[in-house]
Symmetry: D3
Subunit: 239 residues, 6 copies
């Protein structure tokens, strides 16, 4: 079997991180997974949501959006529609949960970090690119807080990246693009940390139910892909 | 380790299905997973959503709601709030996808089946109870269509059930109740068919990232639980 | 004239109250007026709405909802529609006003009681069943407060029940079911207290305008029906 | 007992109807009940709501609004709030039902008449003034249709007026103004036709439950008031 | 060229101000520019919006609405639609900005003045009539504050009026009515103060782009018209 | 007087257009006016809004949005707020009107062109950059239609650009950045075509009312700036 892109089954698309893509955000990263390009902006604000106020701890949350023409056809602008779709809410909840998994919220006392992930161009895997790029933006924002000596305790205790895997034409493949995603029999998004621990596993059978051995293969591919993404994040942060 | 309820790690809560719980719906099932009670009503309508019209096929969708006082404290009524929460949308999308996995939409030509899952009382696992009870309501609704000779082709080609598993106090356990869910380190919802194939796998690390062997144990427990639920559904449908 | 159900003109449908229908609410009553089944949950919260804050008094309010498939055909879910219909708002305002008529809000100082009335199955008279069942849930909730010694003063000073009457096929009848309601020429909802005083009277001519003598007959029927409902509530509360 | 305004118990406030108050509407009437001034505009459109389309019949509906500063303090603009209040919906449903009671919808085939009632100044009784003035606007709009020979059949078969009555300081009084309304123990809105038939009766105990004899007195006052309003409408229409 | 109304190119429509048109508002003015009639109510409230709270200063804002049948055909009620249109928001922002240009917000400390402009009848120029009439209502409201000695410092430091000008049939004309507005090649709204200074200039080419000399002519006409409106406001306020 | 940026009073910021910034849109241009960067995507769809259907003509419209962290502080996401602000609606209406001024809608028969302007980074003048960049995206989209021979008639008949001018520290200046905009006494947005005709003129006095000679100076600056932008657009389109 060959992939339409010529990639091998366990090959990621070219990944890049442009740090400081915009000027105002505490962390601003344009992440690309092949043709998927997401602008991840991390904002630090010295306030917490009402329901967190008594806890003394801080908060980290995420919002996700897609520019109307990020996709092949134009999708309607959610602001004009008057609400965010179920898909959008689901994705931004996933991004928030994933990135909270590497942060000590107690150490953020009094602060909220918001990770805005806006998809400029979509070619499959926008949620995994958002998590992976969002992590880099988060690190940059925390560095700014650290420099300003606003952190009494280090909040960052891990590294987070995400990738999609799936069964396409009967074979497990890594990092699906839009064409593959559209025809995948199974679609699995995996979020892991730098130690190989699972943070989120979300798999859906699109065509037939998938077997345990298929799941095992996909998890293996995800694990390989994420270790490469973890390395790419480090390279970008050291660059 | 013992569970606060005295259950063993691989033990489901008592499960029951009351078919015909209300009179009007084509399928109406009150499902109980211990203290969790969900009313699942299946409605058949001879119309399809606009975007399906040209396909010739039918559609199956689900909606989910929680009565304001299904929970310990009162939650605000979504109808009064003016919108469904992200959690609600996420759950009803999951129920719909899961039940579509056992139905041939072509065979439903011209019809939409809506599965309304309304939680009367919540004690953990409302989404998995909804899927498991929704399946029984769906079967009853299809039986009615079959009796009325409105089906040219059989749409039902499988059986679907769901259960939650998790890591509580360091140990994998099956079918978490509210108390366990609140303190779980990892929470995994699994949807499978009668052949042991996976339809949905959604796992979230709440405390620490979970290891591959923990995931394996949880999948094993889920598999056992679901085969019991599949049997319970059959018994209820034959009863 | 005979009624399609075989009931005499002044005969109620079988009425029942299942107390403690769900576990979490301070008062939880499943009320049935024949085929109409409404779950009435009373919640006590130690806070008052903003506009009541300065008054020192408490508050009692109600919310009403209908499960989508409580009715013959499926009605759209209000939470998904993004708003409550005019009918819903009208009914929940009526329930709230009616039950406030037996409660001393001063004595509820600092507390809000919310009566959630959710229709599981509709067969006419859902608003009157809601009021009549809501009263029983309210009494149970207040008993809990009394036991916890949270009441300095007794807030309950009366008993409230409600019934519908109407002109069907030219004759006044008591407690209309859905079939009668659909063909009624006049529809009158009456809320009264245990002393026979009127709390709400809401009559609408559906076909022709009704005469004063017709109104008089209907009020007479309502009065008889409500005294039976008052007795049934007492029996349920003593049971 | 004397009323603060010096009126006798069975005395209406000065009533006036200014026909043709605005130019564009098919019927445009500024109705005054004392200090309450409502602009009632009747619009005829050659279309019916979707759900009426197959019936062949026409439709009549009403909308109600209050200018933000019609009242003593400023109330928030509903358009800016993003929704109509329960009170507004309740009132506009009442106006629509009341005026449909004098119109043969079959005869309006293909047309919708909308009665917009906008309160310019409020001093109690805005809903009864709206119905009473709305009737005059409706007659003017139908006259225009008749003149244009767009009516095959006469749709108007009755005359409708409305008034409020109540118990104030223990005594039944007719046509309450704001001061009386605020302190009323009972508030009853009555809609009747020219033959003395009841179209709507909506009574609410504000303080104590009202007795049957109080209801009887109030209905008597309403009947007297409405016959005067019916005469005033006629005079205005002939003027 | 002659105008369809017989007016000369630089002639305003008859302008009138009815002060005290309603009773409750601190300032209430019915302004007419020919067939355009707008009710402008000024409300004074002793509170400021949240975001102004720390400033110590007061605030002035405006809201605009059009009764559904102010226009030739009926437009949908914004409150029923659930939102204000872009046009409405644009106009009310313009009215607010324009009137803030003659008021010292510091001097209004602690108070918000809201100018509600509700169009009873529309015949072109509703926004300029709103500003011109709103000014008169504002002056009346401030007079009331002055009389109550609630002002430590005089807030009013200028006079504001507005008019529309345009190119119709190739010629610049003053104060367009609906017929002219509909066929105008260019439409320019001008807000000025009593000293001839510009507060707002908003011009739009409807047909072809307009030339600098056309703009100059229009500004000249506007200037003449506004000085007449300024005089008319003064006459009304002295009257 | 010197500007904080060192620019002369009549000097634009560096302007650039990156065509083909994203892949899917028919026209995709990243426009920069100094630190202001707006992604302008033009979409062609073969359908027209309902209200245009009978006209036979096509339509051109625009939507505008600002990424939450385009600004110094984070602004709330409009999609999450559930509505677009008045400012957003005003700007997108302006962009649409401006670009319709160079397009023959008849020639677009059956097609709608949507110009999405999303601000990635804001430093003043986002609406004028949107119009100027939107024009380039529009030209690219029309070129694609022309190449596909979908145009029977040429729709483009002019060139449109826009710039802001203002009075800062008492002196008229061209193309205000954020710092200047915040302290401007007057702010004027001007849209012109390649022949020097005015399409839109929108001026607001922020501090004091502006005089006629100030307006004249500002219009002169705008005219100079726009002729440079027109040249820059041409260079980009030929590039």
């Amino acid at each position: 079997m060959t992939r339409h892109s010529g990639r091998s089954a366990d090959q990621l698309r070219p990944v890049s991180f442009v740090r400081g893509f915009t000027e105002h955000a505490e962390g601003s990263v344009l992440v690309s997974f092949g043709g998927t390009r997401v602008l991840c902006n991390a904002t630090v604000e010295e306030r917490v949501p009402g329901w967190r106020r008594d806890s003394g701890a801080g908060w980290l949350t995420a919002e996700y959006g897609m520019l109307p023409r990020a996709t092949h056809g134009r999708s309607r602008r959610e602001a004009a529609q008057g609400k965010q779709s179920g898909r959008t809410l689901e994705i931004q909840r996933l991004i928030g949960r994933s990135l909270r998994a590497c942060v000590d919220l107690e150490a953020l006392a009094g602060c909220t970090i918001t990770i805005d992930c806006d998809v400029l161009q979509a070619d499959g895997g926008t949620r995994t690119a958002s998590i992976t790029g969002g992590y880099v933006a988060l690190v940059d924002a925390l560095a700014k807080l650290r420099k300003q000596r606003k952190l009494k305790k280090e909040p960052l205790f891990g590294q987070i990246a995400a990738v999609s895997v799936g069964i396409v034409n009967g074979a497990p493949v890594l990092d699906l693009d839009y064409v593959e995603d559209s025809s995948a029999e199974t679609d699995l998004n995996v979020v892991m940390n730098e130690a190989g621990g699972f943070v989120e596993v979300q798999g859906t059978a699109e065509g037939h139910a998938f077997r345990r051995d298929e799941l095992d293969s996909m998890l293996g591919l995800a694990s390989k892909g994420i270790s490469e993404l973890i390395a790419a994040q480090r390279a970008a942060l050291e660059g």
